[in-house]
Symmetry: C4
Subunit: 270 residues, 4 copies
């Protein structure tokens, strides 16, 4: 694996508008786990997405707007509205706080029926667990899975302590999707290349950190033309901020990491 | 067009009270797009408006108060209350997060029936789209439209790539209102003069930035005697803050731009 | 009138607990004006009150907790609970965002039936207007009114432009309560003395600033033994913070003024 | 009693994930007192807990997520969900904002029927008062009570002014649990040792400060192997931050103390 020792974030062109920076749809947040999708949404805003819609349970709408007025919201159960939003979107994230019950299943099934080949799908958290159980056909669009080792075990059938590079690489090839394996020394597997992060810190081992990364990846893909660079840049930037903050913080609350995104992206701008 | 290279913000007189700084009514925010009107409201507060009322869908009230306790709220569907508020207001903004469906139409129709000649009306976002479709008589009061190029196309029938100064100027003259055309190098068209902004940055190309500008314009008009100076000052200040922040931020989240308004207004005070 | 050129805030004794710093009840906030009581509540917390309960309309509870988790909430319409809270309270503020309709009337009437001689009552905002109309007997406890000039006109029948020291002093004597007349050069009238503030700034002329002051006064009275010093200290500290912030801010949003209270109180500690 | 003059917070191991830093359940927050459990939850997040679930009244869910998206929420009245959560938890805090009525009683009774010997239970605030009345059998797991002197009087039957070291020590031995007696010079009683804090400040005498401490203790126990060190570290860190902030703040709002936790934990890291 190549060690990912730096990234470059593309400079924005002067003559652009918000429509040039991605139409994003985030699907997740049930009655109990709403905070996850709020973190993902705010990570998108602070990463630079132009237009963000969040499909979540109505009990989450007030808190979402309170934390993140830049995003739009729809009811995750309003299939008519959801169909319309899926149609007009570039990048779709499903999973943060989705829940693993039948409602989560339904949301994924519904999405897979409506997603189009030119779109990108990011599958995170509970959605990975559901994918592992339902084993649906992977859609023909660009698909990224962002599992931690236990979720990767479910998806690949490789037990956590047998997750070597060779076995992971083989499983990814079989899956045919991009995989970001989140752990100490996060690994990114593309079709023809793979990278390992030399940065990261146990101060980031906290609830909501994965939802934040998922939001950043979705946002970067929506903004940047080069898919692989978008994925590596987002993952690197996330760990980079965490490591920077951990020099003065024992633990890095995800909401604080998000605050730093625009500053660190600027410092990584080429 | 004159290049708008600086503005002066009037110093407040000592012997004044909140009633001297504008009675503002903001109309917008449906079930899905509530964040837009929250951004506009907080931009008003941080720009110095004395009294701000927000007419929005009740699902937005908790989040609005959570972010912006300085504003009052009413139910956008409570026509009795809305009538009363319109009557007691100096400046009315309609549009942020209003939605383009029949409810949005109704809100505009209702407002146009009740607005009075001495008031100022700012038409933003979805309200511009509705105006373009309904083609109502422009009310006899001071009216400002704040379109981005696509919205201006709808309103003026000039395709985006044919929006030259000459054609815009002609269309504005025909419309008889003030037009702020938001883009790289924002243009401001008054009846007898027009200005071009030499500042601005693609870091401001993000959802909610227009709602924030609309709130600032409304607030400045409510505070300052000179209408044209109020409009140019607000527009300039908005871009100026964005440009300043973009030296350290890759993208400028609207909620962060708002935080800076009082400081930058002070620095521009004459 | 004596010019109030400085104040001293008493140092806290080591062997004390939250019960020593006042049991406060704040009554206000209807469906439209909830933000006012939220500002008052947070001003209490940041001024050092030990125990704060807010009686407000249930639609305000989520936003109140979101901004100010340190306060407790009750439903303003739950008279059983309200009776119990009034009984166990030292200081009661009524008015911010109360509304001037029959519900506001009822809240005041109910409070006046239950208030006890050893308590202190602060009457602010809409509650002053209702007092002016209902003309109830002033309760035998310590009572403070915090009108701006128009509210003082309603309460005293002195037109705004005839509010001279002599006429104000006479009206206060007749009223038998403490009056804080909020304006450029705020005036404080006690039974046997009166003060004029040499500080203050038009940057404070903004919605919610009076609610913030009302919260501070209530909190200071709950904490400090000397009633007159508590009132003058709170009023002075409020204007002092506003003036300090106005050196860098064109307008001082009340929520920002509140953030500074603990720091400025420390600097004024004797 | 030993004077607790310093603590060391263990460095995190590189190869760890959020599951290594404690599964926490917080139970509290009725319709009136929801802010207390929100403060405890945010204190947990900022102290480094990996997974936090809050069981509270549904009216508190929106504000909780608004302040603390890192936590999960469940309805405190959903016994099926609650049973499941208790089963999968390491550390349980009950009490902040629970209320002393029959619902609070029920929550405690239910918890005591379901708690397991390997878990740790922290009993705070209203839960202490209910324990004092119900006098249930103390469960066989590790139990900590965090009373202030009045609550300790209720639990131990020692009047506040007779709470000497000898009598407290005897009562703790009889109780068979750990007791943290919160006061000027907080005392910590373990089975075979006891400590007195030389730090603390009356600037911390404010509502919500105890809820914050309870959250920190719960979080530290969930993270650190050594039980006694976890308890002393949390208590010391809480007072240490309060004392630091009090050099510039007259009163320390609990929400501000929480912001500092990660920084101070880093500075105390060994």
């Amino acid at each position: 694996m190549e060690v990912l020792s730096s990234v470059n974030i593309p400079k924005r062109n002067e003559e652009t508008h918000k429509g040039d920076y991605g139409k994003i749809l985030l699907i997740g947040g049930n009655v109990n786990l709403g905070g996850a999708i709020m973190l993902a949404a705010r990570a998108c805003v602070f990463s630079g997405s132009g237009l963000i819609t969040v499909a979540t349970h109505p009990t989450n709408h007030a808190a979402l707007h309170s934390r993140c007025p830049e995003a739009m919201v729809i009811d995750i159960n309003d299939t008519k509205m959801l169909t319309k939003m899926i149609e007009h979107t570039d990048c779709i994230l499903i999973g943060p706080g989705l829940g693993c019950d039948f409602k989560g299943n339904n949301a994924i099934t519904f999405l897979l029926q409506n997603i189009q080949p030119h779109q990108t799908l990011i599958v995170d958290g509970d959605a990975i667990t559901i994918f592992s159980k339902l084993k649906p056909d992977i859609p023909s669009c660009n698909v990224i899975f962002t599992p931690h080792p236990k979720e990767w075990e479910r998806l690949s059938n490789i037990p956590v302590d047998e997750q070597t590079y060779e076995r992971n690489r083989e499983a990814v090839d079989q899956l045919g999707s991009t995989v970001i394996l989140k752990k100490h020394g996060t690994e990114i597997y593309f079709k023809n290349s793979d990278y390992k992060l030399p940065i990261g810190t146990p101060a980031m081992a906290t609830g909501g950190m994965g939802d934040t990364l998922a939001g950043m990846i979705t946002s970067f893909i929506g903004q940047f033309d080069n898919f692989e660079e978008a994925v590596t840049s987002a993952t690197y930037t996330h760990s980079y901020i965490g490591e920077e903050l951990s020099s003065s913080m024992y633990v890095v609350p995800p909401s604080r990491l998000i605050n730093e995104i625009p500053y660190v992206m600027k410092s990584l701008e080429s």
